[in-house]
Subunit: 369 residues, 3 copies
Amino acid sequence: MDHDDPLTPPSSGLDRRNFLGVAGGGLLLCTVGGQKVEVKSAADVGKVDKAAASVKRPAAAAQKKGSKRERVDDLRFGTPGPAPGGRRKEYWIEAKPVRWNVAPTGRDEWMGKRVPRKRTFTAFVYQQYTAGFASPMGKPRMPGPTLNAEVGDVIVVNFRNGGGKKFDQAVTMHPHGVHYTPDYDGVYLGDFTRIGGFVEPGEEFTYTWEAKPDSVGVWPYHDHGPNHTLNSLRGLFGAIVIRPKGTRPPDVETVHFMHSFPPQVTGFDSLVHCINGRTFAGNTPTVRSKVGQTVAWHVIGGDGNFHTFHIHGHRWKDAAGQYVDDPTLGPNETVSAVFTEDNPGRWLYHCHVFSHQDAGMAGWYLVEP
Amino acid sequence: MDHDDPLTPPSSGLDRRNFLGVAGGGLLLCTVGGQKVEVKSAADVGKVDKAAASVKRPAAAAQKKGSKRERVDDLRFGTPGPAPGGRRKEYWIEAKPVRWNVAPTGRDEWMGKRVPRKRTFTAFVYQQYTAGFASPMGKPRMPGPTLNAEVGDVIVVNFRNGGGKKFDQAVTMHPHGVHYTPDYDGVYLGDFTRIGGFVEPGEEFTYTWEAKPDSVGVWPYHDHGPNHTLNSLRGLFGAIVIRPKGTRPPDVETVHFMHSFPPQVTGFDSLVHCINGRTFAGNTPTVRSKVGQTVAWHVIGGDGNFHTFHIHGHRWKDAAGQYVDDPTLGPNETVSAVFTEDNPGRWLYHCHVFSHQDAGMAGWYLVEP
Amino acid sequence: MDHDDPLTPPSSGLDRRNFLGVAGGGLLLCTVGGQKVEVKSAADVGKVDKAAASVKRPAAAAQKKGSKRERVDDLRFGTPGPAPGGRRKEYWIEAKPVRWNVAPTGRDEWMGKRVPRKRTFTAFVYQQYTAGFASPMGKPRMPGPTLNAEVGDVIVVNFRNGGGKKFDQAVTMHPHGVHYTPDYDGVYLGDFTRIGGFVEPGEEFTYTWEAKPDSVGVWPYHDHGPNHTLNSLRGLFGAIVIRPKGTRPPDVETVHFMHSFPPQVTGFDSLVHCINGRTFAGNTPTVRSKVGQTVAWHVIGGDGNFHTFHIHGHRWKDAAGQYVDDPTLGPNETVSAVFTEDNPGRWLYHCHVFSHQDAGMAGWYLVEP
């Protein structure tokens, strides 16, 4: 159904073959505001962004009626509060362009080699602020802030689209795992879009999400606006950790997104395989612990590929109670490796797909005795 | 071992790169009747179909002896009946060519865009009939009829190959999950083919399959004749639901095949990502339920790709007892999402592989209060 | 970040598209000794091997200090012995080049067709020897010897790099599942390499690995030296089976690696999909059992692809207690199918990814009554 012409060789622009890794067995397609674009080159990215910029606030976001509308589209929803004894966990988060270096050290410490010079591009990240957007909390990071709550709490996210002229298009925050009404789904649905599904540059919207017993776990959140694929691949993602009430977190807890930046996003020659926005050991997160500590790694698929997660010298029980050391995970799926540390030394962790591992999807885990 | 010449550019015919999505990390290869064909163009499809048409009924299907035969090839099997208290669940099913529209509405309701004009091709589906093939039961659908049974029952499928001149080749029904002897395996095995593994156009064959305790679950069935890959991708697939004896089905129960039609099958320009033979929201199944109902979604991989399954606003326990909302599934693997509905509104469900989701592997779920 | 030039068509040498299957959604990249090479042709393979040959023994392997070193890099470790009541399971294994035929019968018994003439190349395998490397134990096989132990045992592998001039580079043995100190991790880590992570041609090294309660299961081992991707794809892999103390093995137990040989490794025209180094039924392992026997299939992903594992006529409980017959597995992930045999006849087992199944990833399972 795609309107690319397969008889025409991919003559100009970036190499389509390099994008296969991005899209998980296909090309990078973006469907935005009535257009479907096969994103092959920087020019195509401009086309998609322009299409995204031209998407008008859907009438439905103002609750108007359309021909295909159903009764459920006219339902009105309130805003939930915490359960008795629960808390209101409030966050201020802005989607914001940021110059991003995929390999600040310039080196792959594992293989002892230099990383090519072109390492910086304009990413799009969720930046946390202090209350009332008074000031940024730390430097921009990728993933965005980890949202923490316990069962019974509500997570309240004061969200601002700071895309500005660079990323002049509506964006959102769509969470997995937590409970929400359609208003707080954070998804652009064309004529059926609800209020939280279309936040234009300069606008703010407050999402309210409930942590219920079946929310316990670790989940991604990400952009789900009209240009969600490109913006997710630019860095608009983060994690939510929901614990049973009164649970102590592990001594060491990390979130690792396994993802990639395609050339369309970076302007580099080819795909960059990353963990948390960085490529190659020494740039990807170096995790540290001590023997005896409880340690939890939460690993989330952040692109269109399938991955596995392996830590040298360690194994752990999966949800089924089986010992594993290299489980599979898909796009926006989470696997957690939870164990009590017993093995000091320097360890490599990595995706076990050869082409990902060799292209930077690896890092250090340092365990003190 | 493939006989394509990698030094020759893929100059003519359809673009090989578009088929990567079909084959799950490889080209579309068909091995039929002693030939292996890399299917790049409509001409190649003709070649494969011609090869399939020329496959002769294997001698072994008549239980003759050959040089490589083993003792197990000479075993004779009977036909099982139901267990005490079990039933005989009888179906009449014909494999039949049908003009198939991948997007009858002509629109993607999610992104509010028109779908390209070329939307119709000749698919190959399992059509259900009333007893004795008296008359078709409803319009042809994809997947074919869902076969239901309880533990202790036998499923009896009176199968007819109605491929005719359009699909002039032996086809079969091969089930997962249920018990069967080699006679009812429904698989072409060359010199080792049993009676149910080669049903020529115009022929009938009766499969008998047992539902035993370890059959409980939801499973695919599909063609496994000499041209199984092409015919599975043309639409020859369906589902089997086996429940413990006396179990009430959920209030709402759906089967969703996540699959794709390659250009070789459709003659379109490129790959169409589908759910149940349709592409883009409004064409893919719109599922409806009410708060308080028990709901079960059974999702099966129908092509050579890996997928994930996500429903907005919902999460459920996987088999390991962990809450998930986006599990991975492989080719002909099933994942089920079972929950009691508690969240009214319009929800999007989709594969979370970006390139699948953006190319039509998404649909609506409408929950009334 | 890759240094391929996407503006240049892949004009000469082997077809890059054929390698997509190898790399699981990307090109075949090798990062060796400070160089990253996109392996497109036999010349590139030579380049990688030359790079691998030129990698010097890391200073760190001799425990010298470097600028980036951390305290954990200076930790000293002993060699563990068995737990009380445990045994010392000793193996002699050499990594060794061997002429390897991917299809000795020359035929695909399933589809009754001939396999192309070019079937032999120089593989790299783990060959088992009697004590003191006195003499080879049987012919070279792929996977290498299965290492067996019970909880409380230590596995001691006397390892020799017999790569010689053909594969003139350091290799290792890196195990999954078992416990080891960084010295016995068997991984090249550049400046941080420990003694077991760099075994040059002609050298020997003794690995000692502990089987602890959380090691119970089936795990891969494989090369993790400076050229690990290419050497793993050449055949340097095998399995470890750890059982609880005093457990009787099943009557029939098999290890199946689902993997592939890329043209860079074989010099053939294209990718060969294999089970245990062989392609097409009759060449891949033919497994035999009798009704009533306990049977265990341990299936491990041996390349960069994702696979599923299906046996006709059979189903089994997965780790979560759910009946399955076609589970997904990723690179170096294991799934086990364990059942009591109840279904006599000739059965096909295969990966359910169409393009793998049709290109040789299938075999026979013969069950006597």
